[in-house]
Symmetry: D2
Subunit: 323 residues, 4 copies
């Protein structure tokens, strides 16, 4: 193997730069040249890339975002788009791809593999942690800490009366951030898409603890079945008019920030492993971390199965708030 | 002087605890007893307070919120409410009050002074920095840093296309946070209540810099005349449909967090000065910081005059973004 | 089971409070009373404790340190000391102990179990991550992030010339912090007690990269066989007199700070599990996290086996710095 | 004026990049070209520089360090060195210099002005805050917050016994960091070069508060007359052998980190003012901030007078610790 391409795709996540650095340096270590494709699959279609040398990836391990840019590409979903992409690959002598992103990105690369036999390794990079086969995705731990620090500040704004806060966090289709952050901030409850939200019980519970707790915090995944934090707040307010109820939508700040130690280490380990896997002839896989080891998961499995919510964590949250 | 009362009133602000600590310890240093009134003027009306000893205020200098609680009191605005409040003061032998809060709180204490000759010193504690006579209010610097860190994260979420972010910050009636934070994050513009917002020029400008800047950030005071960030985003979107435009409302996290060094130092200095001023016979004043010194401002002046926006800073923002 | 005791022992670690909260609330949930023993085993010997109710552990999940205090007890190592400790246990009707600490603390509790049949569950709380049977100990992730943020700042102090920094981190007998932090900050190398340090190779390497890298950072475990950061710096300086070489000893700040999301979640899950394990009749165990699940490890195994350094991580570090 | 040069000199300080950005963009705004001199005065001597365009200074406002590099130059102190420097200035058509640094750097530029009539404006950039004529230097507020956060963590490591910490902070010749940080962390005392340290009183005081305070923190400027933190700790240990006494030297991390809001705003305002001052014909000055306005100070005054320690702050610290 003489030359590979690397790209970041989908929503960006802290730690993507650390992964780019690790892939690049490991490739160079094995005398493989690295093309950094710009703006995800768009860059393949438009033949936009930069050469990545050892020092190009210096001093980026600690930066949020992705130096290669990331985008969602509609054209890549068409056979014509993938033809163009493959032409770029051939023209530049790229023998394999490393794709850092989520399941949509892996599905795209998998398609390329099926159509053109282009080997690829997927590195899970998304703050949502919603990928099957890995305990952590790159960016999740940083996003979690961002949420926790923000909610810690919100809780500071003490009030003499019992104040109820609905705080919305990212997760259009999954509640991993909401559940983990909920435990970490000592929330009363986390409302998540994977479970039917029972507002009646919640309202009952809030009445019961009134005056017993200084403040109540409820985390809400943006994709909860009862709506976002503002919508849910309004529903609750209709029933608890005399409560002091507020909402806050944390928003895009959850995608940024310097990556946490865990995310940097995970990204570094996966970056090294990605090159080693390609050298061993692996070709249509995603990397995951399980039991503290970096493992390979067949891409079909990774994109067809769904990561499930941890029942133990749901229980922990209930017991600790006495909900 | 043998005994004083201290209370925090209005919206809470990081550094209020540092001020409570400083007032308490300085009073004790001068052999004055301290009653900590709970929940602002409500505590005076309801006779709720705690004794504050030296060690009661240990290990709080670094905590957000206020250990005494804070509330807005409607009853205190009535003569009957103030009668009750004064009764608590008399019953407990309180000879003077230290009030940490904003101009509404000082107006209340001033009323008490006028009606019952109760001496008081106001310590400016509000994240809004909207008080006349002081360069900084306690909490402003912390809120500013919270905003700056959040916007730094938002900017990280790189995009290959030009992305425009409207970020809403606190300031119902004033743009101090928006303007200072705007300079600090390198925003394109800060939209503030003190100036008429010209969306037409802004839209024109955004078109002009498209493709020239990686991302554009516009800060919006919640009280801007064209609306909050979401409303303004929608107006701009109607004109710039093909731009990638987002909004984020930072919300309540701006009120919390560990106080910054500046806020702790300011609170400590003002706390010491509050007791010294009372001992010198001052009785209807607010403290301010000017030219690095703690000064006294007659309360009438403090609550009747309005702090104005710094023209120099407006210019700095314009020049640096080339708006 | 009607009543249990809980104590924190050994060096304190961020997340201990979150564990105390979880143990207390879970016990109360199961109608078990909780005695919080003060200052580790000292409190048992001296009969010093506080009752812990639901609200006593509110608002502590986010605080570093331990509200129960922690100490090392020499007297507890003697049979007489343990006799006194057991007397306190009997007098107060304590039926089981939850001990949060490191292997020394567990050895002590194990002794108590052997001598008096007192059931106990150990929760691993130490920043060192040096316990067998668990992927993470409570406090490790926070300490790691503290180190990473400090070294990020150190790296900022750019210099036109190549500057070499030796940064000493905690780890008297283990290199887990140094190794993980080294990967996360992109260090050239981490010098750890588990491997013989080869200063000759390091010096050779530093000469080789001179001028090629802007700055070089080498992490040093305090217990490295060649000495601490200052000692090693001096040895290297003797050979590389014309290099700009500095050292920094991060010190005690590594033990403090608000716990990270991971540490709070781990502490919460282990706290719940500790009570559940006792209710299931387990009696001489340590909890661990493996493969994202909380598991029980026989205490004998936990304290007799040694956690080993991860070869994969050593390799990752070498490859990424091209050492 | 068509072309200017800008350089950063001396120890680097967070906010220098924000100043470079502001100077560059303001110059361009006024149609002035900007040469960024590399590595301080060394770059002038060696004719090393880069052109700075609008986008070259994008996305740097939030970064620590200095993109131009900084160094101390011995050669520039010689007439021959300055001859070479001036040749670079002439060859490149540089009509004025903006120098970001401390008093040593300004003395150098002043010499160049005297010898060759080259106009220059100095922007105070140093974490030490030891410059006459300005309430703040760029970098001081960030360094202060770094110290405060580190000491907050140190204080977390609670102990049942009274523990005394000596924490050394930067300040070889001045105690501004130690004094301000001391107030902000609630230290018992700050030992500073400007005042004779009285260890006898300190030891007496530590004995007196033993058992009354949970922990005692004493900040030490590196340039204190009794030595650094380790030396002083050893002297105190000799007298208080049974106390638990520790030390920590915070070191180089104090120079790095993302600049605080205050430092970024100050740097931005001064950067704009630097160009405006040159356009107004000012030529041998330093900028300062006084009473919230940016002012000019004749360079002779700036480098001949000494900033003095604030007596009010010394008093505040004493009163609040009851030393």
């Amino acid at each position: 193997m003489k030359k590979i391409g690397i790209l970041t795709s989908g929503g960006d996540a802290p730690g993507m730069n650390a992964a780019i650095r690790a892939v690049t340096r490991t490739a160079i270590y094995h005398n493989i040249e690295v093309k950094g494709i710009l703006n995800g699959f768009e860059g393949l279609i438009e033949n936009k890339w930069m050469n990545l040398k050892f020092s190009d990836v210096g001093n980026i391990i600690q930066r949020g975002g992705t130096l290669l840019g990331s985008a969602r590409s509609d054209e890549f979903r068409t056979p014509e788009g993938r033809e163009k992409a493959y032409k770029t690959i051939q023209d530049n002598g790229i023998e394999a791809l490393v794709v850092i992103g989520g399941d949509g990105s892996f599905a795209g690369a998998h398609q390329l593999f099926k159509e053109f036999k282009l080997p690829f390794v997927g590195i899970p990079g998304t703050i949502d942690n919603d990928l099957y086969g890995t305990e952590y995705t790159i960016g999740f731990d940083t996003a979690l800490n961002t949420v926790v620090e923000a909610v810690d500040k919100i809780r500071d704004t003490a009030s003499s009366h019992h104040r109820v806060f609905f705080v919305e966090v990212m997760g259009r289709h999954s509640g991993f951030i909401a559940l983990d952050a909920g435990i970490a901030v000592g929330a009363e409850e986390s409302l998540i898409p994977e479970r039917t939200t029972d507002l009646r019980s919640l309202i009952h519970y809030l009445k019961r603890i009134r005056g017993k707790k200084r403040s109540s915090i409820i985390l809400v995944s943006e994709g909860d079945d009862e709506g976002g934090a503002i919508e849910i707040m309004n529903k609750v307010k209709a029933e608890l008019g005399d409560f002091d109820i507020r909402s806050s939508v944390l928003g895009h700040m959850q995608r940024g920030g310097n990556p946490s130690a865990l995310d940097r280490i995970l990204a570094s380990r996966m970056g090294v492993k990605a090159i080693e896997s390609l050298l061993l002839g692996e070709k249509d896989i995603m990397l995951g971390v399980q039991n503290n080891s970096i493992v390979s998961i067949p891409i079909k499995e990774a994109i067809s199965k769904k990561e499930t919510i941890d029942e133990d964590k749901l229980k922990v949250m209930k017991i600790l708030s006495h909900f």
